[in-house]
């Protein structure tokens, strides 16, 4: 896949539009999934995914092939997604805040309670923790891949995940354990 991507990148840089489309088709689902999980909003995720591919394709000459195309594309995507998140946070409050979610939990089934609580709790995590939690625990990225994408050591990725989980457990006040 990696070698195939490099060949596609070379063809795209020569002006082959079909190569752009093939690269897009190969990666769009994973980028969109990550954007949606991070932003929890379909419109924002669509916007972020578009921007990520536009920026990546415009900067394709900067792809030197020392990392997999997927890793490079995800670096661009994470940068765009985090920017979108900041912009969205400035423009409008979340649809459902953590406090609101907690206040409505008592009448709901326990699995729904956990879902509502965790959505707010994850949204409240600082970016560095939320990114690692979503990538690893929700989307199944390996620590090595996360470290490459975020430009940190593998140990840092693991430490951030551990901290993210601890903060989520604290925010959920033990509901997570009770629900398991």
């Amino acid at each position: 896949m990696g070698r195939g991507d490099r060949a596609l990148v070379a063809r795209a840089l020569e002006g082959d539009q079909g190569a752009y489309r093939t690269l897009y088709d190969g990666h769009v689902d994973r980028v969109f999934r990550l954007a949606f999980r991070m932003l929890a909003n379909e419109e924002a995720a669509t916007e972020a995914t578009q921007k990520a591919f536009i920026r990546a394709f415009e900067s394709l000459k900067q792809f030197r092939g020392d990392a997999a195309f997927s890793t490079w594309l995800h670096r661009v995507a994470v940068s765009v997604i985090l920017n979108e998140r900041r912009v969205a946070a400035r423009r409008a409050p979340r649809e459902l805040s953590f406090d609101e979610a907690v206040s409505h939990r008592s009448t709901l089934p326990r699995d729904v309670e956990l879902g509502m609580g965790i959505r707010g709790a994850v949204q409240d995590l600082a970016e560095i923790y939320k990114t690692v939690f979503v990538m690893h625990d929700v989307e199944g990225y390996k620590h090595e891949e996360i470290a490459d994408v975020l430009g940190v050591a593998v140990g840092t990725s693991k430490a951030r995940l551990s901290r993210a989980r601890a903060m989520l457990r604290q925010a959920l006040g033990g509901d997570a354990q009770a629900a398991v």
């Binding site: 949606f36 415009e58 400035r90 959505r119 939690f133 625990d137």
Partner: protein, 226 residues
Amino acid sequence: MSGDIHNDETEMGRAYADEVGLPPTPADQMWREIEAHLPERNRGGGAKVVPLGRRVRWQKVLGWSMAAGLILATGVALGRASIESDGGPDGVATPPPVVASGPAAGPGAQAGNLEAYQALTRKRVAGMEPLLTMLTADAQLGRFDPEMAAWAQRQLTRTRLALDRPGAEDPAIRGLLEDLELIFVQVASLQRLPAERAGQEMGFIAAALEEGGLLARVRAVQVAGP
């Protein structure tokens, strides 16, 4: 115990995935927008579209030329003002010759000096506008030009000097100078990063520029004049 923790962690990820349920990827809808921005088109001899990146590069070249001229003119003017007053070294905060000789130098002369400082500070800030415009364009595209770091380093020095002078007593100007200082620190530090990472950091700088409305505030200073 460790098994419980593992289950808890797995459950949290799964619960979040369930809560934030995935819609189908709108691949074709997104592609239409992306396709319109592709750098090159190769559709059997169809008309070539000038890519966004190339347009920006042309604007950049024009911007650099205009900015270089502006900086030269501003530098010469400030240099002259500096030499004519007291020969101060930085040419930024040294006031033009407000004559206040001998015992007549009183509050009126001091007010004149303050106004002169403020006028020069405003002029310096307004002179940053063309390059700040380019920086914003680059930042929005996640591009980093090493020349920009050198420029930011120079502006950082001048901004800090200006902050220490009476011309920065105006709260609006002071706030603007402090915000600019932060941006210049960020941009100047990018030269130590690999190009790819620097480009990504420019994305964050774009957000900071937008958040602070910096370009609009610099333009407002320009419009307000001395």
